[in-house]
């Protein structure tokens, strides 16, 4: 999991070339409880950092996922429409949300690495 970067809002980002894949962390899915609905953005949409692009609903609550990067959505994980529970089962794998082609990979520089994120969630428990 060392190739992942993290936000303080418990999202992860994986950079491959100029494409960033976004999802939520295991900690986040555990806090939310069983997911029942994921609303994904449109492919082709231009998004900016801080913009709400995904809505997730669990048995407990609804929440927004803000994009950590600027760019163009090139793919969304349509399988979550029928199987939102994949986010609970495999948050950093099959439970990914969307892929963005970024304008600058520098957008990820401000995100946390794994050890900084682990420190963050330890401080929350």
């Amino acid at each position: 999991m060392t190739d992942l970067k993290f936000t303080a809002e418990h999202e992860w980002a994986r950079l491959e070339g100029d494409v960033v894949t976004i999802g939520i962390t295991d900690y986040a899915q555990d806090q939310l409880g069983e997911l029942v609905y994921v609303e994904l953005p449109e492919t082709g949409a231009q998004i900016s950092a801080g913009q709400e692009v995904v809505v997730i609903e669990s048995v407990k609550a609804a929440g927004d996922i803000k994009s950590p990067v600027n760019g163009t959505i090139i793919e969304v994980n349509a399988a979550l429409g029928d199987e939102p529970e994949k986010v609970n089962e495999d948050p950093t794998g099959e439970g990914w949300f969307y892929r963005v082609r970024v304008e600058s990979t520098g957008d990820l520089d401000s995100l946390m690495d794994e050890s900084a994120y682990q420190d963050l969630i330890s401080s929350l428990d």
Binding site: G33, V36, Y37, E39, V55, E57, V59, K60, A62, G81
Partner: protein, 270 residues
Amino acid sequence: MVYRLGDEYCLVVNAANKDTDVALLEKNAIPGIGITLNEDRALLALQGPQAAAALESIAPGATKLGFMQAAQIKVADQPCFVTRSGYTGEDGFEISIDRRSVSELASTLLTLEGVTPVGLGARDTLRLEAGLCLHGNDIGPDTTPIEAGLQWAIPACRRSGGERAGGFPGAERILSEIEQGASRVRVGIRPDGKAPVRAHAPLLTPDGVHVGEVTSGGFGPSLSAPIAMAYVPASLSEAGGALEAQVRNKTLSVTVCNLPFVAHRYHRKP
């Protein structure tokens, strides 16, 4: 909840309303009736199909109670006031005990086979599936029992023509609604898709006219589908009617349905 205990009554009131309720009782009590506010009691709810078997092991006799019956019973050797009631739509018990002993009793209950602690979220899911009202959401100072579908709470003797008709808060409007029907009523709502529709979502007709609002909503695990309750005009309250809910600037199709979503499984005595 109101219990008749010989020549006394015991009321368990909504905690958020206790000041209003006590003031109302004191203002309206007839001479000779004393009112005591008892704040040294705590209430535990043991709910579900296995509740009776679990409780019987430490409170022999508890399972002789039928739904909405009450008795002074020892639970784990502690004197308790046990009622076969709850707010989950399932069989279950509410156990009133001296607050100083409640932690110990809770710990004892948790040692029993099949007993596990659940939070308010789980209770809220169950009461929504059972079509039960949450005060502050589905009922409050602005709703009547007739709008809410709680006509059963007004006995025949207090209705028009009854021997003690009227004379209670809201009587004029409530008695009129019993005769003529309420203009809006509480209904069940089934969103057609998978997205939950939660409290305060506006409801529209398919041609865009605002007709009501969702008062409780979430995901019903027993149905593996989103469920909600709302007030709509009586003319739109028939099961099967198509409406639309506004959620995050999107319009979702929903269907009016009867309540409850999950049949009650109370232990009623024949």
